[in-house]
């Protein structure tokens, strides 16, 4: 049983991390709670279904096209609906929630609410210390780690990363230093949408496509990001694995209450926040960022 908990916890955590990092990044840089974030994950998944199954394109081409299309949708969403109100946090939350609902309804109109499936990149499974893990899940875990390393490298080793971090620390000072803040915010939004789309692309073959598939992970990644500390990419990464392990523990130790796994994860988040209100790696006061 312990092996099952460890392996399944890692897989679950990896998936959540992939989604949570993009959400955390856009909050850290733009102070924007983008409730449409997991909607990009849903759009990418439906994109792959459309290109691969309905247009019968090769899977690799379907994935690339879907990632590009989703990123473009993310950019357009930012430019058309968010950019002009980005200083008004509650307005941004409401607009992004509305956008998510609109995208969901479009998907229902286009594909109905019926569950759909997409083909796996690789089929079959591998037994690790007695636990069966599908190749697709292993691929998801590997891609999650690779993407997270890339994000870390981008933020810490490139000029663009320095500009993003500078904007995250203080956008006004960054502006005075010659950084085009609007452009950086747009790039960050595109990056976050692309990260959500990558998560959609790699996770979807193991799951079911339904237009409401964005709601459940949204709640969980918000919990993860708050737990890890709003805006802390490292915190989101660690928070994702904590939440992932709690969910799996509930399934193994309380099988009759498996449906409560999300509630338990949120309860642990609340308990941690009571002890450390800023989250595990968040800063206690806004002034500390300055």
């Amino acid at each position: 049983m312990v092996e099952g908990i460890i392996i399944q916890g890692l897989i679950k955590g990896g998936t959540y991390a992939l989604l949570a990092v993009g959400f955390s990044l856009i909050f850290g840089v733009a102070r924007m709670i983008n409730l449409a974030h997991t909607c990009f994950y849903m759009l990418a998944a439906y994109g792959i279904y459309y290109f691969a199954k309905e247009l019968e394109m090769p899977l690799a081409a379907a994935v690339v096209l879907s990632l590009l299309a989703t990123t473009v949708i993310g950019i357009l969403t930012y430019r058309l609906f968010i950019d002009r109100v980005r200083e008004h946090h509650v307005t941004v939350m409401l607009i992004t929630l509305a956008m998510a609902m609109i995208f969901q309804e479009f998907m229902i109109m286009a594909f109905s609410s019926e569950p759909l499936g997409t083909p796996s990149f690789v089929s079959g499974y591998w037994t690790i210390i007695g636990v069966k893990v599908s190749y697709q899940n292993l691929l998801t875990f590997g891609i999650a780690l690779a993407v997270l390393v890339c994000v870390w490298a981008l933020l810490s080793k490139t000029r663009l990363g320095v500009a993003i971090r500078a904007t995250a620390q203080d956008s006004e000072i960054a502006n005075l230093m010659g950084i085009n803040v609007r452009r950086i915010l747009l790039i960050t939004m595109a990056l976050a949408a692309a990260l959500a789309a990558i998560a959609g692309a790699v996770v979807t073959p193991t799951l079911t496509l339904v237009p409401t598939m964005w709601t459940s992970p949204l709640v969980m990644i918000m919990a993860i990001v708050v737990l890890g500390g709003l805006g802390s990419v490292k915190g989101s990464f660690i928070g994702a694995f904590i939440i992932g392990f709690i969910e799996v523990l509930v399934v193994f130790l309380l099988p009759g209450g498996a449906f409560l796994k999300g509630a338990f994860a949120l309860l642990v988040m609340v308990l941690i926040l009571l002890i450390r209100p800023e989250g595990l790696f968040g800063v206690a006061f806004e002034e500390e960022r300055l």
């Binding site: 019926e114 569950p115 759909l116 499936g117 069966k132 079911t208 399934v251 099988p255 009759g256 449906f259």
Partner: protein
């Protein structure tokens, strides 16, 4: 002043335009309005509509319904209950169907949590509501406590959850017997129960936990209750494999049935899956699971080539030809509309109280079985009668991309010899054979 008045006049005109049509004016002559309510964005609701449409078109083409010597045509009104996500929406849709659209009768409904408020709304207006989706026994127990209020509710399909337990146990017994014989398994078989978290499943879980050991001599190794909309069951399946279960007894009506079957097949969990998986009743199941749903076994109502009554084959063939899908049990709206025709013609009236009395005594052969409603002296008045000679249902198994009927078959006691032409043998999944026959 005029500039201020113009927008006001425009708004008032628009409001009038919106309101006047819904007031409806005079009732149309010789038309019986029947509401079809269900989750229209899902297969369940679509099949409610398709079944009702087929019946209404057939009846209208044949001249309509004879009400005391005058011919009436049927007008169907489609109502999306949005009940998968909102019981409140479902009640509002029912209210609108009756008060705004003028439905005189209603057929449909799917999720118990939403059918309860739908019933309340229909009963407020003494409107006959023929259920074609929700199985919970307590829906038919309402009339025990307050017959005068709830007498307008009847369940046409499916039979109630207690009887679903009975069919599931018989299917489980059959599968277990075939597995023991085919694989040489000794000792009591071990069963994992996988039931979605939903009201209709609660009583069934308790019944399975009691009856699987008592009636079948099998051992229950655990009960897992994922959400009906869960998209990932890797952890549950890993735990079930750890439990050593030979069989998984399912109670799934939500989309969770797809990832469950897909992951079960992809991870080659060495346990056969039997029970209720509504997603596996749909033709899209095979594609949605990428073929990993092979061997998934579920209780069902219709399958191509299986004649439950003299009317089944024609109905199923016509349904497939028109809609390119095998009907799910929700298409029982077809029988429900014909039932209404039958009782309206025999009473010669559209009066709800008279029709209720007639429905209570009806004995009608439908496409889904022989329909006789339980009496008012039983614990579930107006529930469709279950058992050999009435409605039995079937169980189907996916066998290499085809949905095959595998039960009733090999029955004992009251069910001995009960089967239908076209029923084939249940197959042990390859992954289970491979696991139990390896060195």
């Amino acid at each position: 002043m005029l500039k201020k008045l113009i927008p006001l006049l425009v708004v008032c005109s628009l409001l009038v335009l919106l309101i006047v049509p819904s007031c409806g004016g005079e009732e149309e002559d010789n038309v019986i309005k029947i509401g079809v309510i269900g989750p229209m964005q899902y297969v369940q609701g679509e099949h409610h509509w398709y079944g009702a449409t087929m019946a209404a078109e057939e009846i209208n083409d044949a001249g309509g319904i004879d009400v005391d010597g005058e011919m009436y045509t049927i007008e169907l009104i489609k109502a999306d209950s949005n009940e998968m996500t909102s019981p409140t929406d479902a009640a509002a849709a029912m209210e609108k169907l009756i008060t705004v659209d003028g439905a005189q009768f209603v057929v449909g409904g799917f999720r118990t949590e939403s059918v309860f408020p739908m019933i309340e709304a229909a009963m407020d207006y003494d409107t006959i509501f023929l259920g074609c989706g929700a199985a919970t026994e307590s829906l038919c127990q309402l009339a025990v406590d307050d017959y005068d209020r709830y007498k307008y509710w009847f369940r046409v399909t499916p039979f109630n959850s207690t009887k679903l337990v009975s069919n599931s146990l018989m299917t489980l017994g059959m599968a277990g017997g075939i597995m023991q014989q085919g694989l040489g398994l000794e000792g009591p078989l071990q069963v994992a129960i996988l039931a979605e978290q939903a009201e209709w499943a609660d009583a069934m879980v308790a019944a399975y936990q009691a009856y699987v050991p008592a009636m079948l001599g099998m051992e229950v190794v655990g009960t897992w209750r994922p959400s009906a909309t869960a998209t990932d069951l890797n952890a549950e399946l890993t735990a079930i494999e750890d439990s050593g279960a030979h069989l998984i007894l399912t109670i799934l009506s939500g989309p969770v049935g797809i990832p469950y079957a897909r992951q079960l097949g992809e991870l080659e969990i060495p346990a056969a899956s039997v029970g209720i998986n509504v997603e596996a009743q749909k033709d899209g199941f095979w594609d949605a699971t990428e073929g990993y749903g092979n061997y998934e076994t579920t209780l069902n109502t219709y399958a191509e080539g299986i004649a439950l009554t003299s009317k089944t084959a024609a109905f199923v063939e016509e349904f497939i030809e028109r809609f390119d899908e095998t009907p799910t049990y929700n298409a029982g709206t077809y029988d429900a509309i014909y039932l209404l025709k039958e009782v309206i013609e025999s009473t010669g009236t559209l009066d709800a109280d008279t029709i209720v009395e007639e429905l209570e005594g009806i004995d009608y052969i439908g496409a889904g079985g022989r329909i006789v409603f339980m009496g008012t002296d039983t614990t579930t008045p107006h529930d469709v009668t279950y058992g050999p000679g009435y409605t039995t249902g079937i169980a189907t198994q996916w066998q290499d991309g085809e949905m095959k009927a595998v039960w009733p078959n090999l029955g004992v006691g009251e069910w001995e010899g009960v089967t239908y032409e076209g029923v084939v043998m249940w197959q042990i999944p390859d992954r289970v054979i491979a696991y139990y026959t390896q060195d």
